[in-house]
Amino acid sequence: MKAFASAALALLLAGLAAVLAWTVTRPVTPGRDVPALIAGALDVSGVSHPVTAVLLNFRGYDTLLELVVLLIALAGVRCLAPLPPPRGSAPVGGVLRELASLLLPVLVLVAVYLLWAGATRPGGAFQGGALLAAAGILALLAGRDRFLWRLEHRLWPLACLGVAVFLAVAAGTLAAGGVLLGLPSAHAGTLILVIEGFALLSIAVTLVALFLGTGELEDRDP
């Protein structure tokens, strides 16, 4: 019976895969040239890199909600496992400590570079934020307690900052022009950089805290 069920499941999924594969290889005529439309609107979007223009301007509303998803995950994790007061983290070998000290500034620099690059070429707040988070995790592993303590005591202000600034811009545009996130093209570039800068910080802090939510449990290991 069990063998029959698993064979039936495998057959069913193979059939599904075939139908899907057939669907994604069918010729289509969308009738709308989205890349061209994006290229056409790029001049007034405030940035010259199309993906950043979509993420922060054309579909900035999605990005605002996505930052909120991160906050929800953080709240969900924190209401399960509150961080204990910082103690001496697990000591890591001297080599890693040295390596971390070397890598830390490099990672921070690359993160900031990615943020700045996002306006004109591949990069942006999310990738930069992830790198900054990696730097933060490295600092933790290398036993930088002061860093952990600072993070813990300012966690919610830091984690919410990105959404708060984004919300403020959203409310501002709504009040000024009656259009949610209708960024005036003259200031769009600056506004996007401001939004991204704060988002980068909050993303990094949130990701580190999400990591700690699981990693912190290790400290309680007998």
Binding site: A130, I137, L217
Partner: protein, 86 residues
Amino acid sequence: MTLLPLAPDVLLGVALLFTAWRALYTQALFPAVVFFVAFGMLLALAWMRLQAPDVALAEAAIGAGLTGALLMAAVARLRGRDEDRP
């Protein structure tokens, strides 16, 4: 559509399928997570092939990197416990 030379893509596709299969069906959890991270890194390569460098960066940093770190930390904590019981 641009015609890409197919050979590297076929190779990458096979590697992606293999790593995904190992990540999902290896008995022990730790190697499964390692295969998953490898899957993410290969996927970043696939994004490059698809002319999506932004996604490649995000995949490498978040999809493979951070998710991998989260998974590793979790597996380290789970170690020594019954593999098949939550």
